[in-house]
C-alpha cells in the first residue's frame, strides 16, 4: 500500500493532536483535580426520604470551610429549591431522584450531574465569587420538566 507523503504528514499530525488533547484532559482530571461523578453507592429509590443523608435535605457544614448540600430531585422540583453557601468554601452536592431521571446543572459552573433513581450522585465545587446561579433540571422528566429549577445563592 502506497501512502502519499502528504497523507502521512496529515495522519501524523492528527495522531499528535489527538494525543495532545487527551494529555490536556488527563492533566485537568489528575493535575487540577476536576473529577467526574463516579460510583458513590446505591439507594432504595422508594425509601429515599428515610435514608440518610436524604432524610434531612439541605446545607450543613461538615468541617471548617467544608459544606455538604443534600438535594432530592422529584417531578417537578428540587428539595430544597434554594440553598445558600459561602464563597470560597468547598461545597459537595449530594443528590438522588425519587421518581424518574432528573438533571442537576448549575449554570455558570461545571457542576453538572444526572440524578438517577437508585444511584447517589456526588460532586464537589468551590464557588469563587458571591452571586446567584440557577439550578436547572436539564434531563426530560415529563410534562412539567421546564418548571423544575432551583437556586444557589453564594454569599
Amino acid at each position: 500500500m502506497q501512502i502519499h507523503r502528504y497523507e502521512k504528514a496529515f495522519l501524523g499530525i492528527s495522531v499528535v493532536l489527538l494525543i495532545g488533547f487527551m494529555g490536556a484532559l488527563f492533566y485537568s482530571a489528575f493535575g487540577m483535580g476536576i473529577m467526574l461523578p463516579t460510583d458513590e453507592g446505591q439507594i432504595d429509590p422508594a425509601a429515599v426520604r428515610t435514608t440518610p443523608p436524604f432524610d434531612s435535605p439541605g446545607v450543613r457544614e461538615t468541617a471548617p470551610g467544608k459544606y455538604e448540600v443534600v438535594m432530592i430531585g422529584q417531578a417537578w422540583a428540587f428539595v430544597p429549591n434554594e440553598v445558600r453557601v459561602p464563597a470560597g468554601a468547598e461545597v459537595t452536592f449530594v443528590g438522588t431522584s425519587t421518581d424518574v431521571l432528573h438533571g442537576f446543572g448549575i449554570e455558570g459552573t461545571r457542576v453538572n450531574m444526572m440524578l438517577v433513581p437508585g444511584q447517589i450522585s456526588r460532586l464537589t465545587y468551590t464557588f469563587a465569587q458571591p452571586g446567584e446561579h440557577l439550578i436547572i433540571c436539564h434531563e426530560f422528566c415529563g410534562l412539567g420538566h421546564h418548571v423544575m429549577y432551583g437556586k444557589v445563592i453564594v454569599e
Partner: protein, 564 residues
C-alpha cells in the same frame, strides 16, 4: 498529485464487480424507492415540529396551532424518532442496499428486501400510533422509568429488525458473490456496505436487550420494575454507534460516489477498507462518554471510553484527507490551481454534489464540537445544554441529512427513470439549509455555553437568563431557514417523481481508485470480515465487561412513571 492518477483498466474494476451497464429488477427499484419516500415523509413531519421547537427557543409559542398535539414533548418525541430513527434507518436500508447491489453487480434477495420494507412499515405504524395518541411522549431516548406504551417499544424494535433484515440481505449477497468469485478481492463498494451493516448489527445488541428483555415486558405489566441506570447504559451501548450508523452511509457516498460527480479519483483502496474496519472496531466501546455525568459508573470506565472515542475520531480524520484529495484531483482536472483554487472549480451547479460538499463543510464543525463533547472534564460544561443539539444538527442534522438529500438528487432519478426537476432550485435548497444550520447551531451552541438546557420548553419556562435571548433568536431564525430548505427539497422530490422528464438512460455514479487492490500480501486480509468482527467483540468485552459484571443481574427495580 493529479499526475499520479492513472486511468483504470475497465476489466477487473475493483470498485464494483462489473463496471458496465447495471440495472435492477423493477420490483427492487420500487422497494428501494419506497424506502426513500418513507424516509423523507418522516422528515417532512419531523421538520414541522422542529420549526415549532426552534421558535420556542425565541419564546414564540405556536403549539396551540398544532391539531392533536398535547405537549411540547410529544412533538419533540416525534421530531427525534422520525428524524433520528425513521429517516435514517429507511434511507440507509434503501441506499446501502442499492450500493451493495451495485458493488457486487448482482440483485439482492427479493424476499429479504420485501421483509425489511414491511417490517419498517410495521415499526413506523406502531410507533406512530404510540406517539400521535400521546401514549409515549418519552423522547427518542425513552429513558426509564418514564414508561411508554408497549406499541412504542415494539415499533422501535421493528425498526431495528428492518435494519437487521437489510444487513442479512447484504451479507447473503456477499456470500453469493464470493461463491461465484472464489479468491477475488471484495469490490470496494460492496465492502463498505457490508462493513456498515456489520458494525450496526453488533452495535444494536445493547438496545435490543434493553427493549426486548426489559422495557417491553415491563410496559405490558409482566414485570414490576427496571433498573434505570442499566437501561441507560444499554441504550448508549447502541446509542453512540448509532451515530456511525447514521454517518457511514454518508461516508459511503463521500468516498464512493461524490468524487465521481467532480471527476475525481480516490487515492487508496486499502486505506478506505482500513477506515471502515476501524469504525467496526471502535464505534461501540465508546458509549459511556454519553454518561460522563452519570452516577453509578466509575471514572476508570469513563476514562477508557474517552480514549476509545478519541480513537474513533481518527478514521474520520483519514476520511477528511482521502475525500478531499479525491475531490482535489477533480478540481485540478477542471483547471483549478493553487492550494484552494481547485475547490472553487468543482461543479457547484451539480445539485447532488453541492448538497454533499456543503454537508462536508458543516461536518468539520460537527467533528470539532463532537470531540469537545467527548472531552471528559470539558463535557461537564456542556452536558445536556443546547450545545449538544447544536452539535448534532451539524452532524446527523446536516452532514448526514444533507448528504441523503444530495444522494436523492441522483438516486430517485435513476430509480424512477425521470430527470431531476428544478436543478437550480435544488442547488439553492442546499445553500438555504446550509446557511440555516450555521445560524441555528450558532444560537444553540452559544446558548449551551451559557447553560441553556436542551429538551426544554423554553417559551413556557419560568426561569431565564439574559444571555439566552440572543441565542434563542439565532436558533429560531436558523431553524426557520432549515425548515424552508427541507420544504423546498420535498417539493423538488415530489415534482421529480410526478413530473420529471422521462429518461431511462442514467447511471449510478461510482468513484474509481488510483490504486487497484492488492492481489497478494497482507492487504488481501482486509477482506476477512470475520476477524474484525471478532476483534470488535473483544474490545466491547474489555470496555463494557467490568461494568456489565457488576450491573447484571440489575439490583434496582423501579416501577414505571407516566408523567407526560
Amino acid at each position: 498529485m493529479s499526475t499520479t492518477v492513472a486511468t483504470l483498466p475497465a476489466v477487473g474494476n475493483p470498485v464494483v464487480h462489473d463496471p458496465s451497464g447495471f440495472d435492477l429488477p423493477r420490483s427492487h427499484k420500487a422497494l428501494i424507492r419506497w424506502h426513500v419516500y418513507i424516509a423523507f415523509a418522516a422528515m417532512g413531519i419531523a421538520v414541522v415540529h422542529g420549526l415549532a421547537q426552534a421558535l420556542s427557543y425565541a419564546n414564540i409559542d405556536v403549539f396551540g396551532w398544532f391539531p392533536g398535539l398535547k405537549t411540547y414533548y410529544q412533538g419533540l418525541t416525534i421530531h427525534g424518532v422520525f428524524n433520528g430513527l425513521v429517516l435514517t434507518f429507511a434511507f440507509a436500508n434503501g441506499f446501502v442496499s442499492l450500493a451493495a447491489a451495485r458493488g457486487f453487480s448482482r440483485p439482492l434477495n427479493t424476499g429479504l428486501l420485501h421483509a425489511a420494507f414491511w417490517t419498517l412499515i410495521g415499526g413506523v405504524a406502531l410507533a406512530s400510533f404510540a406517539m400521535f395518541t400521546g401514549r409515549s411522549s418519552v423522547l427518542y431516548t425513552f429513558y426509564a422509568p418514564l414508561q411508554g406504551h408497549w406499541t412504542y417499544y415494539l415499533g422501535l424494535a421493528l425498526l431495528v429488525v428492518s435494519t437487521w433484515l437489510t444487513g442479512l440481505n447484504i451479507f447473503v449477497t456477499l456470500r453469493a458473490w464470493r461463491r461465484d468469485n472464489p479468491g477475488e478481492r471484495v469490490p470496494l463498494l460492496g465492502y463498505v456496505s457490508v462493513a456498515t451493516y456489520a458494525m450496526w448489527l453488533l452495535a444494536s445488541i445493547g438496545v435490543t436487550v434493553e427493549v426486548v428483555v426489559f422495557l417491553l415486558p415491563w410496559s405490558l405489566g409482566l414485570t414490576s420494575g427496571v433498573d434505570p441506570l442499566v437501561m441507560r447504559s444499554l441504550f448508549w451501548f447502541s446509542g453512540h454507534p448509532l451515530v456511525y450508523f447514521w454517518l457511514l452511509p454518508a461516508y459511503i457516498s463521500w468516498y464512493m460516489m461524490v468524487p465521481k460527480h467532480a471527476e475525481g479519483r480516490l487515492l487508496s483502496d486499502s486505506m478506505t477498507r482500513i477506515v471502515f474496519i476501524l469504525f467496526m472496531l471502535l464505534s461501540i466501546p465508546t458509549g459511556f462518554h454519553h454518561q460522563f455525568t452519570d452516577p453509578g459508573i466509575g471514572t476508570g470506565m469513563k476514562v477508557i471510553h474517552m480514549i476509545m472515542t478519541f480513537g474513533v475520531f481518527f478514521p474520520s480524520l483519514v476520511t477528511a484527507f482521502s475525500v478531499v484529495s479525491a475531490l482535489e484531483v477533480g478540481g485540478r482536472r477542471r483547471g483549478g490551481r493553487g492550494v484552494v483554487g481547485w475547490f472553487f472549480k468543482l461543479p457547484w451547479r451539480e445539485p447532488a454534489l453541492t448538497a454533499q460538499l456543503l454537508a462536508m463543510l458543516v461536518f468539520v464543525l460537527g467533528g470539532v464540537t463532537g470531540l469537545i463533547n467527548a472531552s471528559y472534564s470539558v463535557n461537564q460544561v456542556i452536558h445536556n445544554t443546547t450545545w449538544v443539539p447544536g452539535h448534532f444538527h451539524l452532524t446527523v442534522g446536516t452532514a448526514v441529512a444533507l448528504t441523503f438529500i444530495g444522494i436523492t438528487y441522483w438516486m430517485i432519478p435513476w430509480l424512477k427513470g425521470r430527470e431531476l426537476w428544478g436543478r437550480g432550485l435544488a442547488v439553492a435548497q442546499s445553500w438555504i439549509y446550509f446557511i440555516g444550520v450555521l445560524i441555528f447551531s450558532r444560537g444553540m451552541i452559544s446558548g449551551g455555553l451559557e447553560g441553556l438546557p436542551r429538551r426544554t420548553f423554553r417559551a413556557a419556562a419560568p426561569y431565564t437568563k439574559e444571555t439566552w435571548d440572543l441565542a434563542g433568536v439565532w436558533t429560531a431564525v436558523g431553524g426557520t431557514l432549515m425548515f424552508l430548505g427541507a420544504a423546498l427539497f420535498l417539493l423538488i422530490l415530489f415534482m421529480t417523481v410526478f413530473f420529471g422528464k422521462r429518461n431511462e438512460r442514467q447511471e449510478i455514479p461510482f468513484t474509481e481508485t488510483a490504486q487497484i487492490p492488492a492481489r497478494t500480501g497482507w492487504e488481501t486480509k482486509l477482506d476477512r470480515f470475520g476477524w474484525y468482527v471478532a476483534a470488535a467483540v473483544v474490545l466491547i468485552l474489555l470496555a463494557y465487561g467490568p461494568y456489565l459484571i457488576t450491573a447484571f443481574p440489575p439490583a434496582i427495580s423501579v416501577p414505571g412513571f407516566k408523567l407526560f
